[in-house]
């Protein structure tokens, strides 16, 4: 099994190289540093000197792939590709446009993101599974019918509405929690309560409905019929058999997103003023800070691939039928 995991991990390397080349192409070839400078400095009235200065400050004045003027290894190393793209592999992200180290920002900002996302993930999973199991238990009754109707209605509402109405009701009308902001330590609880509730509620529709389908599919299988045939109570069948087996696809699906929890929630963080990676990314997009966007693209891919790897591993651990080919 270790060989299997190692092989899966090695498979990630070409993907990361692909992502790296793709982002390089997108950010430096399609859109040259000159374009970036012009965009930052204003499109119309900009002198060539100003562009050169802007590029030099950020190290974009080097050749793209091959430096004729440098010696030895420097011919490859002293280029934009090496400095800006290859260095990402050792998590050297360089500096943002405001001069601060992106790596340092990521290290400090991932904790608020995680503090928001982890409760959303755990509470959400519990709520969705409970709701889905309830609907599956009362299948083909009015509870099931209206539960599904509720799910479809809830998934038709934009996440922006959940956030805006949550802020309006809980913070403005009822004054329960602060409308936005963040503080470290135990104070964080007060600021995180609303974003967590909103995060969980906005996911109920699609997740519960999906989990319900999984449970119903599981209930149609032969072993469930056998369990009923041997006279087990419906609750024992549900909790002992259906829940247990239904959790396999649910958990393995959920594990894939665990690494991405570090990335935070883009929209929620910027609405609630939480200084996490999500709001960092949004700010970077809005101020057109390409070096931050590039770093986040790479970080996101790394975390996504880590999630895929975790899924593979958890499958082999949970389900003995998976073969190591």
């Amino acid at each position: 099994m270790i060989a299997y995991i190692v092989r899966r991990a090695l498979y990630a390397i070409p993907i990361l190289i692909g992502v790296n080349l793709f982002t390089f192409w997108l950010f430096f070839v399609v859109n040259t540093p000159d374009d970036m400078a012009r965009m930052q400095l204003g499109v119309r009235r900009v002198t060539p000197e100003a562009i050169e200065k802007w590029k030099a400050e950020r190290g974009y004045d080097k050749p793209m792939l091959y430096n004729r003027r440098a010696e030895g290894l420097g011919r490859v190393a002293d280029t934009i590709f090496y400095e800006k793209s290859v260095r990402l592999f050792v998590f050297d992200f360089g500096n943002a446009d405001d001069g601060r180290s992106i790596r340092q920002e990521i290290l400090t900002r991932m904790w608020p993101s995680l503090a928001l996302q982890l409760p959303v993930f755990l509470v959400g999973l519990a709520v969705y599974v409970t709701f889905a199991l309830l609907m599956a238990f009362f299948r083909a009754t009015y509870i099931d019918f209206w539960g599904v109707v509720l799910c479809v209605a809830m998934m038709s509402i934009s996440s922006l509405f959940y956030i805006i109405s949550g802020q309006y009701l809980l913070s403005k009308l009822w004054n329960l929690v602060p409308i936005s902001g963040y503080a470290g330590g135990p104070d964080a609880l007060k600021f995180l309560a609303l974003p967590v509730v909103v995060g969980v509620v906005s996911g109920i529709g699609s997740s519960s409905r999906w989990y319900r389908t999984i449970f119903l599919e599981e209930m149609g299988k032969d072993y469930v019929r056998t369990a009923r045939a041997k006279g087990l109570a419906e609750t024992a069948v549900m909790f002992g058999h259906v829940l247990k087996n239904g959790m396999i696809p649910i958990l393995t699906g959920a594990i894939a997103v665990i690494p991405l929890l570090f990335m935070g929630a883009l929209i929620a963080e910027s609405f609630f003023g939480i200084p996490g990676l999500g709001s960092y990314t949004i700010d970077a997009i809005q101020s057109q800070d390409f070096s931050v966007v590039r770093s986040m693209v790479f970080l996101g891919s790394v975390l996504y691939i880590a999630g895929l790897l975790l899924t593979d591993v958890s499958y082999t651990m949970v389900d003995p039928r998976v073969r190591f080919e």
């Binding site: 692909g18 992502v19 793709f22 997108l26 802020q167 997009i285 996101g300 996504y304 895929l308």
Partner: protein, 474 residues
């Protein structure tokens, strides 16, 4: 002067393709069977009624032209720089009646106090802080106090008209049903209301009735009041909400249209040829998938923005510029979302290529291209169709989020995203400006909910697994 926007062309190409598909289906009994199942689903057909209304508005809003400006004789005709659509012309009472700033629904006075100069009895001009009367909203009223009576009167008139229209519709349906089933009108009527008809006419008529009951009063009122209030620069919110429909529809449909050829081609090739082709395509979609979607879209849109800024020669009007950006957004969304469909098609083709009829074709020496187009493609079309309708609602929702991040449609383009974005600041005003958010919510919810319900009906009718599951449960 007619103006042909890129998205208009694609929208009409799509509309023609859909029509051609239905003509084709009508001639093929085996293709008609699943669609029959769709038409028998009560909620699916109710959703279709609502969707058809939205699509009609969207199509009317997709015929663009530049109105002629009045010019002196001998100067040649000049055209306005503003691009209008047929829908704009129909909704000109909404479009042209602009106030100066916010006003609440059915308001006769503005939302904020202004300093007005009122000539007093003694001839002196006094300055008063007052809520000024609106230029258009309720301007026909002689006494403001009689506003409520006036509104109810007009609403009742609208309701009466709607009831007449609905009765005519229901009568036509009953007559047709009676004619088709060779029964008397009375029996047909009873069958419809007892939900005994194959096509769920009762559900369709109830939905149509609800829509008419909303549209009737709005039609009679919207010429005299701002039914949903006005926004910050005084535009009628009802007009904005109706214009947003086209943007949502374009994003929801064109994106899938753009990505479908890639997904179908690559997915089938990977599953059919296997070997290195499969490895390459799998590598391609894992790589694209691993890049966070929003970031990829953001990066690509920023680049498009740069290109548009540098090439002002691509477009003559701001509408054309906004349209080009919308098209780019669709293309980018398509490029990031083809992976899911490609993966499904790969799996299905892997299964299909092992089946006897394909192996027989191979044994006869039929070329690969022909096997793919003749044997595999028709057998995976249901997956393409299902994913097409299932993706629609997600894309409409995505537009709102992307516009909030600032990488969605052009800020000058009216869309649900830009409406919500503006509404965010309005919520913190005192007194609260709730109407534009509420309007965006209701219209978007109606669009996405009906799309979701219709997609469910289509999936249930086309997905063989669902039917097996339904049989097993029964």
């Amino acid at each position: 002067m007619p103006v042909i926007l890129w998205t208009d062309v694609l929208v009409f190409v799509l509309a023609v393709a859909v029509l051609a598909y239905f003509v084709h289906v009508h001639r093929q009994p085996h293709l008609l069977i699943p669609w029959r199942r769709v038409t028998q689903s009560a909620y699916g057909m109710s959703a279709l009624v609502v969707l058809t209304t939205f699509v009609t508005i969207g199509l009317l809003d997709s015929i663009h032209y530049r109105p002629t400006l009045e010019s002196k004789a001998g100067q040649g005709t000049a055209y306005s720089t503003e691009v209008s659509s047929v829908f704009d012309a129909l909704a000109s009472p909404l479009r042209d009646r602009r106030e100066r700033t916010y006003s609440a629904p059915f308001a006769t006075r503005a939302y904020a106090r202004e300093t007005l100069e009122i000539p007093g009895l003694d001839g002196k001009v006094r300055q008063v802080r007052e809520f000024p009367r609106l230029t258009w909203g309720g301007a026909h009223l002689k006494e403001e106090a009689r506003r409520n009576q006036d509104v109810f009167g007009r609403a009742a008139l609208g309701m009466a008209l709607a009831a007449l229209a609905w009765l005519a519709l229901a009568g036509a349906v009953a007559w047709r049903h009676a004619h088709a089933s060779k029964r008397r009108l009375r029996e047909a009527w009873r069958a419809i209301w007892g939900a005994e008809t194959r096509t769920p006419w009762r559900a369709i008529l109830i939905t149509a009735g609800a829509l008419l009951a909303l549209a009737g009063p709005v039609l009679t009122l919207c010429g005299y009041y701002h039914v949903l209030g006005t926004d910050k620069v005084g535009r009628d919110v009802l007009y904005l909400a109706l214009k947003s429909i086209r943007t949502g529809l374009v994003i929801g449909t064109l994106t899938t249209l753009v990505m479908m050829p890639f997904a179908v081609l690559l997915g089938i090739m990977a599953g059919y040829f296997r070997g290195w082709v499969d490895d390459l395509i799998q590598y391609l979609y894992t790589t694209v998938n691993s890049i966070p979607g929003v970031l990829l879209i953001a990066a690509a849109i920023l680049l498009v923005q740069v290109q548009l800024d540098q090439h002002p020669e691509f477009f003559q009007t701001t509408a054309q510029r906004a349209d080009l950006r919308l098209l780019c957004l669709c293309a980018i969304l398509g490029l990031t979302s083809w992976t899911g469909l490609a993966r499904l098609l790969r799996g299905e083709s892997l299964k299909l290529r092992e089946l006897e009829f394909i192996q027989a074709a191979q044994a006869f020496g039929v070329r690969d291209l022909r096997i793919i187009t003749r044997h595999i493609l028709p057998n995976v079309m249901h997956i393409v169709l299902i994913s097409l309708v299932m993706d629609f609602s997600g894309l409409v929702l995505a537009e709102a989020v992307l516009s909030y991040v600032g990488v969605g449609v052009d800020p000058s383009m009216i869309s649900f995203g830009t409406m919500i974005n503006a509404a965010r600041l309005e919520m913190s005003r005192e007194p609260i400006v709730w109407w534009s958010l509420a309007a965006a919510f209701v219209f978007m919810f109606a669009l996405v909910l009906s799309a979701n319900l219709f997609a469910d009906a289509v999936r249930d009718a086309f997905d063989p697994r669902v039917r097996v599951g339904a049989l097993a449960a029964a």
